[in-house]
């Protein structure tokens, strides 16, 4: 009466069947972390809108020469301060330059400023955060006191001081702001590392003989990455606002660069007769800042449960 079982795990070679069946189960389970994160991200309408805007900005920046109808630097004294028309979508500025074209090319500058500031501040902040978190002790104390010192001053004031010392120019603004906002990266990185430090897989890595450097590069940093991405995204608007503020105050991007901040500051004098100069420049900054903030929030919610496993 020995009927053979239909159970897929049951066979003469139980081990082999079992392993094969388990693999089949695994295939069903194939929702990768990325896919799950994307599902979570999608849930927030604001994040999606923000993401779309960021995408539009990036495309605009890349394809600026094809999108902008005019050369942003080309002056035209005959057509100064014109209202928006079919020829000049957003009007012209005080030197007859097409505002729309300047905005489009300004996207490049804005994104570049953002990315570079994030790079500078991220580089400094992550390095110091990692050192503080991993090594602890007096290194941690020293770095944290440094963070406290920098945080004692308002961002713009300190950036102003540094930029003032370095002199005018876009790259000096980038360095100045970068040297001030690194603290956010440092704190988040250190915090994450401290919580990862208590995870068993760090102890397991030590048990197999990993060196401190390997621990940092293969264990700590990959697990800190999601948080860093979120901080970097939220840092973009901070960077933009800070650099716009500095430009507005006269330091930073100089004429004739089509930076949005410069458009706002130079448009100040014409607010009553030709408000569109300053307005569109300011609007671009606002929209970009909001977009990155929404994306950053969405990323934080999407990536949070994924970090440390699901």
């Amino acid at each position: 009466m020995e009927k053979k079982s239909i159970g897929k795990y049951i066979d003469e070679d139980t081990d082999q069947q079992e392993i094969d069946a388990e693999l089949e189960d695994l295939k069903e389970k194939e929702t990768s972390q990325l896919a799950l994160a994307w599902m979570r991200f999608k849930r927030s309408k604001l994040a999606l809108i923000g993401g779309l805007i960021v995408l539009v900005l990036v495309i605009t920046a890349i394809f600026a020469p094809f999108i902008a109808p005019y050369d942003p630097l080309e002056t035209n004294p005959q057509r100064r301060l014109e209202d928006p028309s079919s020829e000049h979508l957003l009007g012209t500025d005080n030197l007859g330059r097409d505002i729309f074209s300047r905005l489009v090319y300004g996207t490049r500058i804005a994104l570049m400023i953002g990315v570079l500031i994030v790079a500078v501040s991220g580089g400094i902040g992550i390095t110091l955060g990692v050192l503080a978190g991993v090594f602890g002790g007096w290194i941690d104390e020293a770095i944290m006191r440094l963070v406290d010192t920098f945080l004692a001053f308002p961002t713009v004031v300190m950036a102003l001081a540094i930029a003032g010392a370095l002199g005018p120019g876009l790259y000096n603004v980038i360095i100045a702001v970068g040297l001030v906002v690194w603290t956010r990266f440092a704190r988040v990185t250190r915090g994450d590392i401290l919580s990862i430090k208590t995870e068993t897989y760090i102890e397991a890595a030590e048990a197999i003989g990993e060196s401190k450097i390997s621990l940092i590069t293969k264990y700590y940093i990959p697990n800190v990455l999601p948080s860093i991405v979120v901080v970097a995204t939220i840092m973009m608007p901070t960077a933009l606002l800070a650099s716009a503020a500095l430009t507005f105050l006269g330091i930073g991007a100089q004429a004739p660069d089509p930076s949005w901040g410069y458009m706002v500051s130079s448009g100040r004098d014409y607010l009553t007769i030709a408000p569109w100069m300053a307005t569109f420049g300011g609007a671009s900054i606002t929209v970009t800042v909001l977009a990155f903030n929404f994306v950053g929030d969405g990323l934080r919610d999407a990536l949070d449960p994924v970090r440390g496993g699901s």
């Binding site: 081990d15 079992e18 693999l23 972390q33 897989y201 102890e203 048990a207 003989g209 990455l225 496993g309």
Partner: protein, 314 residues
């Protein structure tokens, strides 16, 4: 019979707000080559700290540790790294013991790379697949991330990682406590199989007395940082001699409706912070013989085939 691991008067004390925690308090034991030494005890007994101290994942406060005859107590850095290949540990919680950003391949790769154990990618893969198969996993599992695996599979990866080192000695710290019952028995069988195939000695730490009984050759019972009884596992289970061991075994429920436990131990294990003078177990011991138990800490002495720390047996 030589020893793979030996400790002499090993101590590990921690400073806490309430005082000195004597987690491991003067423990002298040995693990014979090729055996499984079970270590049991309740909370605060120090068994987990003991395992980690022997591996020097935590530095001992005092005493000595010997590995295959060599004194490794003061080894560090490069010298210690050599020993990391010979001895390792499997932790209780497989979820946090795996790096969520690393695949199974990465996890097995690290020990092989660190200790230069293979000379070609082919050799590496062959080795990995061989160990995975021993643990009931397949080559296809190599590309998986921890979150894609079940609890039992995760633990098997952890054991495979430890086995990649080809260690002589493994500390197994509650390796099945976080797993389902039916998975537990599978893992234990795999561990048994691995022990024979790779010629490893085990220190099996657990609070599950029945489980330890099934897998240990020799047994050590710990109470409040001290070893109170050590000897052949079956003999101790048949005939426990230390009052604590006796009471402990009587408290263990058996999966048999006709066998009922007693609750011979009243109160609870006191805190390992500043333990009482004299024998640690004296306050709860029903076989106290008088003042000597309250004033003098009994040493671990030989009594027949085993060692006991109790004044009753001197």
């Amino acid at each position: 019979m030589s020893n793979i691991v030996e400790t002499k008067n090993l101590k590990n004390f921690f400073q806490s707000k309430k005082g000195t925690v004597k987690a491991v308090n003067d423990v002298t034991l040995n693990v014979v080559k090729g055996e499984t030494l079970g270590v049991v005890g309740e909370s605060g007994c120090g068994k987990t700290t003991l395992g980690r101290t022997i591996l020097k994942l935590i530095e001992p406060t005092d005493g000595k540790i010997f590995f295959d005859g060599e004194d490794i107590t003061d080894h560090s850095g490069k010298k210690m790294r050599e020993f990391r290949k010979k001895m390792n540990i499997v932790f209780q919680d497989p979820v946090s013991a795996l790096n969520p950003q690393m695949t199974v391949y990465d996890h097995l790769d690290r020990p092989l790379e660190i200790h230069n154990m293979v000379s070609s990618e082919d050799e590496k893969l062959t080795k990995m697949v061989d160990i995975l198969n021993t643990m009931g996993l397949k080559a296809e599992h190599l590309i998986r991330y921890p979150h894609e695996l079940s609890g039992g599979q995760k633990q098997r990866v952890c054991i495979a990682r430890a086995l990649c080192l080809e260690p002589d000695f493994l500390v197994l710290d509650e390796p099945t406590s976080a797993l389902d019952v039916s998975v537990q028995s599978k893992i234990l069988k795999l561990l048994d199989r691995a022990k024979e195939k790779f010629d490893v000695s085990y220190m099996f730490i657990s609070h599950n007395i029945n489980l330890v009984r099934a897998i240990s050759d020799r047994l050590g019972v710990m109470y409040l940082g001290r070893l109170v009884e050590v000897g052949d596992s079956d003999e101790i289970f048949e005939n426990p001699q230390h009052p604590y061991t006796k009471a402990l075994f009587k408290s263990v429920p058996q999966p048999d409706p006709d066998e009922k436990v007693e609750a011979p131990l009243s109160g609870q294990v006191p805190s390992p912070v500043e333990p009482p003078e004299g024998c640690n177990f004296a306050p709860r011991c029903k076989q106290k013989i008088g003042e000597i138990c309250e004033k003098h800490d009994p040493e671990l002495k030989e009594s027949g085939e085993r060692k006991i720390a109790c004044h009753l047996y001197y």
